[in-house]
């Protein structure tokens, strides 16, 4: 009995010693390694959800938002039967089995199968429980207004990185920093509370107004359709602050499906493309002549019956005239009269004013890809240049540059910096940055008033832009018509034109300044026939939208209280 007890004691003791050794091994010798292993099992490092900031219009309407999406990936080395998987997956994804098979058979350890799918589409795939197939939560950029302002907004790539427009320009603000966090899981891999901290990027508030943008797009669309034009641009700006209220470009694209469009369609022609502005450029000669005291509005200029020889070239007026006042020279868009005044100025002074009005340098708009245009320095001017440059040939400008120069007339001589972003706000709505408008005086208020008066005359019954006139409000502006240069034939085309109109309304107290450029219209091509009516349509709708009163009625005194009359009619009427 004693012997048995000794044996039993010994066995128990040995067992305890073994347990102690094992405990010593687990808790002391291999403690670090095992602890790390346990942590690997219980904690899973995952990317925290990050959401791109929103893009809002000036009234807080969403122009770019985010939707939840999921991406499907595979770990090819874990997949035993790629052919079966490919067939199975192709049933749920709109992809051919051979394309999926190529991804499943890759030599790498990771491969995307499909990105940014809706969660509804992914659910049946998850239920299949295929080994080696994984899912990752992501967000997908969504542009709820579709085509509207697509050239301003731009778009993002599959990794939510800005590629064009505001998305690119303000990418660092819109993007949230991707972080990784350790999430606690139980033995079965079920998640324990991980918190709902969602990292969001900052929101960008634009100066664009969705309503005005729609009006601009609609006017441009109808004009393009009417004249079967190849392309077109409308920009609307506040002449005092440089806030871009609308920027419409045709042809256009849907940023939700940007891959369906050609890169040329996605180009923002309002700022990236240059053209020869034609008669709208006569503004420079007018400003320079008044500032330098060369002419007065009533100074008589002999227009030589509408023909002038410059070197080997003869330049003609559309409407030949004899002696005209300088006011009439601009009003009737006389090339001869303008060239004669420009000659009085000389190349150096003319060039100085061209640059002073912002041509040949970027406007500084906060959009990517802006072109500076091109203005030859006077030492490179040919004999013909003195006949071409004053009337808007041999210069390359962007529609925005032209608009900015006319805005300077509207605001009394200040060259403003155009911008499309008014503020950047934190995800909680607190402002981080507010745009401070910049302006530089480039000519006197007196000159601005004289030119404003001349431009108002241009839109009168006798002017070239009478079709731009708005019922009830005075409009000031200038038409432009240019032949397109054919780089193959190295001459100006006889059937390809650019028609434009740039102006502001109401002329006495400008609220908006806008430019309409129609590229390669068919049938008619004069700016006064093609672009001016588009401006009229745009201005009338805009004045209604902004509730800018007519100037030809006396101030009413009827008091109304918050009522709507008809579609978009009187609401909280104020004057």
């Amino acid at each position: 009995m004693t012997k048995r007890a000794v044996i039993l004691n010994t066995v128990i003791t040995i067992c305890f010693v073994i347990i102690l050794f094992r405990l010593f091994d687990l808790m002391i010798i291999n403690h670090g390694r095992l602890k790390a292993r346990a942590e690997r099992q219980h904690y899973k490092r995952e990317n925290k959800e990050v959401t791109r900031g929103l893009i809002l219009d000036r009234r807080g309407r969403e122009l770019a938002i985010n939707l939840d999406a999921e991406s499907v990936f595979c770990r090819p080395h874990e997949i035993e039967s790629p052919e079966r998987y490919a067939k199975e997956l192709s049933r749920y994804l709109d992809k051919r089995p051979d394309i999926i098979l190529a991804k499943l058979s890759k030599k790498s350890r990771f491969s995307w199968i499909e990105r940014s799918l809706s969660t509804e589409k992914v659910e049946p795939l998850k239920r299949l429980g295929l080994k080696g197939i994984g899912f990752m939560k992501e967000t997908k950029r969504f542009y709820p207004k579709g085509f509207l302002a697509s050239h301003v907004l731009g778009f993002v790539n599959i990794d939510q990185k800005g590629i064009e427009g505001i998305e690119l320009m303000y990418d660092s603000q819109l993007r949230a920093v991707l972080t990784r966090a350790s999430l606690l899981r139980d033995a079965n891999g079920r998640p324990l509370s991980e918190g709902l901290e969602e990292r969001k990027g900052n929101n960008v508030v634009l100066t664009i107004d969705e309503g005005l943008q729609y009006i601009a797009e609609k006017s441009l669309e109808s004009s393009i359709e009417k004249w079967q034009a190849e392309w077109g641009v409308i920009i609307m700006m506040d002449p005092f602050t440089g806030e871009i209220l609308a920027m419409a470009v045709r042809p256009t694209y849907d940023p939700n499906n940007f891959k369906d469009s050609k890169p040329s369609v996605r180009r923002n022609r309002a700022i990236t493309d240059t053209y020869e502005p034609g008669s709208t450029f006569k503004l420079v000669t007018a400003v320079a002549a008044f500032e330098e005291g060369i002419v007065e509005p009533e100074t008589k200029i002999d227009c030589d019956g509408g023909r002038i020889r410059i070197g080997k070239k003869i330049i003609e007026d559309v409407h030949p005239s004899g002696v005209l006042t300088f006011k009439e020279v601009i009003g009737r868009s006389s090339n001869v009269g303008t060239i004669k005044v420009a000659r009085m100025l000389g190349p150096e002074r003319l060039y100085r004013y061209i640059r002073l009005l912002g041509f040949g340098s970027k406007t500084g708009i906060d959009l990517p890809g802006e072109a500076s245009g091109y203005i030859k320095p006077p030492e490179r001017w040919s004999i013909q240049s003195m006949g071409a440059i004053p009337i808007g040939y041999e210069v390359a400008v962007t529609p925005l540059q032209v608009l900015r120069a006319y805005a300077a007339v509207a605001n009394g001589g200040w060259l403003v910096t155009p911008h499309v972003v008014s503020a950047i706000t934190a995800p909680d709505g607190n402002p981080i940055y507010r745009f401070r408008y910049k302006a530089e005086r480039v000519f006197s208020q007196k000159t601005a008033l004289i030119i404003k008066d001349i431009l108002t005359g241009t839109v009168s019954q006798e002017g070239t832009a009478r079709l731009a006139g708005v019922d009830g409000n005075s409009v000031a502006g200038k038409t432009g018509t240019t032949r397109l240069f054919d780089p193959v034939k190295k001459t100006y085309s006889k059937d390809r034109y650019v028609s434009s109109f740039v102006g502001f309304v109401p002329a006495s107290n400008p609220k908006i300044t806008a430019i309409v450029v129609i590229g390669e219209p068919r049938g008619e091509y004069y700016g006064g026939t093609v672009a001016a009516p588009a401006f009229k349509e745009l201005a009338e709708a805009t004045l209604s939208y902004l509730r800018i009163p007519r100037e030809d009625t006396e101030e009413g005194v009827l008091r109304l209280k918050g009522h709507t009359h008809g579609f978009g009619g009187i609401n909280n009427a104020t004057q």
Binding site: R61, E62, I65, N66, L67, D68, T119, F142, P144, K145, G146, L148, L184, D186, R190, P191, L192, S193, E194, G195, L196, E198, E210, G211, Q213, Y214, K218, V470, D471, G472, E540, A541, L543, S544, R547, P549, R550, T553, E554, E555, G556, V557, L558, R559, L560, K561, H563, H565, G566, F567, G568, G569, I570, A573, T574, Q575
Partner: protein, 124 residues
Amino acid sequence: MIYSKKRNVLKYYEWFLLFFLIVAGLFTIIWLRSAITALEYNIASLEERKKEILKERKELLAQRASLSSSHRIYEIAVKRQGLAFPDRRYISLIKRNESPQVVSVRGKIKLDELFLDDFSFSHR
């Protein structure tokens, strides 16, 4: 002798009490831990629910933004409802009057053309 016996009894109870406290303590710790874990499961499921609701909110926001687009409103108003964009020739914007009881309209449009039934006049 009696003292010694009493002391042994006390010692027995002391051991029992100590054992009971340790066991109770262990159970309390285990219970607390499991309760916290259960709570975490609950929170995790609530978080999942919240995620679903947030996702739904995002989708509704997208839907609202799409439905309220100017293009859609214009199409419905003009094409389906037969409304027209206001013609400036027939619109007279009117200003709040500071002096009470005065109601008058000047301009192109006569008072009876303004569909007065549609408006309420405030006489402050």
